[in-house]
Amino acid sequence: MTTADATNQPDAVAVPAEARSFQGGRAGMVSRSVAAVVDIAVVLISVVVIYLGIAGALLIWNPRNPHVPSLPHGAVGTAAVVLAVGYLAVAWTTSGRTVGDQIMGLRVVAGSDRRVGAGRAVVRALIVTIFPVGLLWCLVSARQRAVWDVLLRTTVVYDWSGRAVVRD
């Protein structure tokens, strides 16, 4: 195998020819919105699964009194926020991708660095969760930056293979 093959082969398999031109480029509003919707669905489904798990555990714990467990006021919302922040932070720190990013072929990078640090990921996750409308800023931003990207100097790029070189 030649050197050219060694460098081209993985991307050639993972990224089709028509998509190679924009790998590493900044992702736009539509792709990021779709990824966000997927991530919201992931968080909501996780909340429901956890709630059903708790209900099942209570049923096993006290089978003579089967009932739907009532949760304290605001507990579901708080749980969803905590879950979303944890999920997003862990995803960006480890692979740079959430499930939505994975499906849409996106990756979050910090500046020219490829990996987002844990602290920056947690702060970004908090801002995204509490102020999701901040995504709209990437419409007016010349460099496709959302509010949290401006504050934390992060960037979302097209990266179908996970190895794309970020363009400035």
Binding site: P16, A19, M29, I103, M104, V140
Partner: protein, 233 residues
């Protein structure tokens, strides 16, 4: 003995007999001779019976003289000769039988050697007719195939098969290579593993990327700015 049946029907004289005078005379002579011989034979039989009948008392007296004891009768001596003669005759018969029996096989062999029996059968026997008469279905029906099959030791047959040799004769490597070449395995792996990415997800991703660009273009136009973004082609 009567008139010879062999001659008479063939040479019966009649108005249609076109035989030559010489032939006719010869036939008449033969018939006449036979007729005379027949009459003579009848005469001899009749006369000999008469002689025997007339000589019977004399023979009786000669063979069994009344004055002699029974043990001295010539009849007894005659019986002794007869017994010995009978033994001789049986011995001769046996010897002849043995001789004939001993001669039959070599003679038969010699005869058969001179004959081409196959050719004779082909020439003289209607083999088609013989075969047509044979009821093959009946023969097949009377065959007990189960019993025949039960009598076959399949294990012994299988044990005699040299499977290793058979396998050695098969070029498995070449066959396997041909099969793999024909299947194009890498393409199948690529299609099956990347089916989702290559079809659904790829389409969604490409469409959203296009949408991203269109949205950016519209916004840029609304804001009246030229795109600083480098768009690689």
């Amino acid at each position: 003995m009567g008139p010879m049946g062999v001659v008479v029907p063939v040479q019966r004289p009649g108005p249609r007999a076109p035989a030559a005078p010489a032939g006719l005379a010869l036939a008449l002579a033969v018939d006449a001779g036979i007729g005379v011989a027949g009459d003579a034979a009848r005469l001899v039989r009749w006369s000999s019976r008469s002689v025997v009948r007339a000589a019977s008392p004399v023979v009786t007296v000669v063979l069994m003289p009344p004055l002699a004891g029974v043990g001295r009768w010539p009849l007894q001596r005659l019986r002794g000769y007869a017994a010995r003669g009978r033994i001789e005759r049986i011995a001769v018969q046996n010897a002849v039988t043995e001789l004939v029996l001993a001669l039959v096989p070599p003679v038969t062999d010699a005869v058969l050697d001179r004959l081409d029996l196959t050719a004779i059968v082909r020439e003289r026997v209607d083999l088609d007719a013989v075969v047509t008469d044979v009821d093959i279905n009946q023969i097949a029906g009377s065959l007990d195939l189960d019993a025949i099959a039960a009598g076959i030791d399949v294990d012994a047959v299988a044990a005699r098969l040299d499977v290793a040799k058979v396998i050695d004769g098969i070029d498995l490597a070449t066959i396997a290579r041909q099969v793999i070449d024909a299947i194009d395995l890498p393409e199948i792996v690529r299609e099956s593993s990347g089916a989702m990415a290559s079809d659904t997800v790829r389409g969604v991703r490409l469409r959203t990327v296009e949408a991203d660009e269109q949205v950016s273009r519209v916004v840029d136009r609304l804001l009246g700015r030229h795109r600083p973004r480098p768009e690689p082609t």
